[in-house]
Symmetry: C2
Subunit: 97 residues, 2 copies
DNA sequence: CAAAGATATTACAATTTCATAATATTCTTA
DNA sequence: TAAGAATATTATGAAATTGTAATATCTTTG
């Protein structure tokens, strides 16, 4: 791969990495790597305020990293980006085994 | 793994991820994943000023992600953290193949 | 020793991110 | 339809990050 193409890749990938570069966002992603969860469930698993959780979920959704499925009053979030999912799994292997 | 331990891990790992969450720092790390390089060589490969490169290298060294070997007037940097190295390689597989 | 090259340090304004509080919206159910 | 639960939005100050300029240090070589 040439330098210019590599610059482009690094730009894309590093901006995805910003999502992971926060303790609670990483926590959210690790939990979602097991499957979709609604906001209340995630809230119970992470040490974070409801407002911030909602903001983080919204942000990662705008960045196409997450997707949401509304069911009545509940909102179920899951990982939308296949590569992000692979990366989280790799990270779990590297850092948690 | 219990939640508390998971919080700890996510804290550690996300702070390592901050290094990767920047286009030029990721570029640096990708080049260093092939082996040690001196500052001038890295400078030629990345679109970054000399000052900023030096600051980034110093920062990642303080965080124990990189190590440096001085040889005369040259400073050779390489990846010091084994897990970071594994992660960069995983990322290259996921995003660059 | 003086000059030039390689690298490091310091300082600072601009921007971005973070955390929190307050409030709003939407859906369910009594 | 009023109350309550689940989720989203907005606003804001504090803190961290970024990029750049200027300067310093260390090393080699003429």
């Amino acid at each position: 791969m040439n330098l210019e193409k590599m610059q482009g890749k690094c730009g894309q990938v590093s901006s995805m990495m910003k999502a992971i570069a926060h303790p609670q966002r990483l926590m959210i992603l690790c939990h979602l790597s097991e499957g979709e969860k609604n906001v209340g469930e995630i809230l119970a698993l992470c040490e974070i305020s409801q407002s911030q959780l909602s903001q983080f979920l919204n942000r990662m959704q705008r960045e196409k990293l997450l997707k949401v499925r509304k069911d009545g009053q509940f909102a179920y979030y899951s990982i939308a980006d296949k590569n992000l999912h692979k990366l989280i799994q790799s990270m779990q292997k590297i850092f948690c085994e």
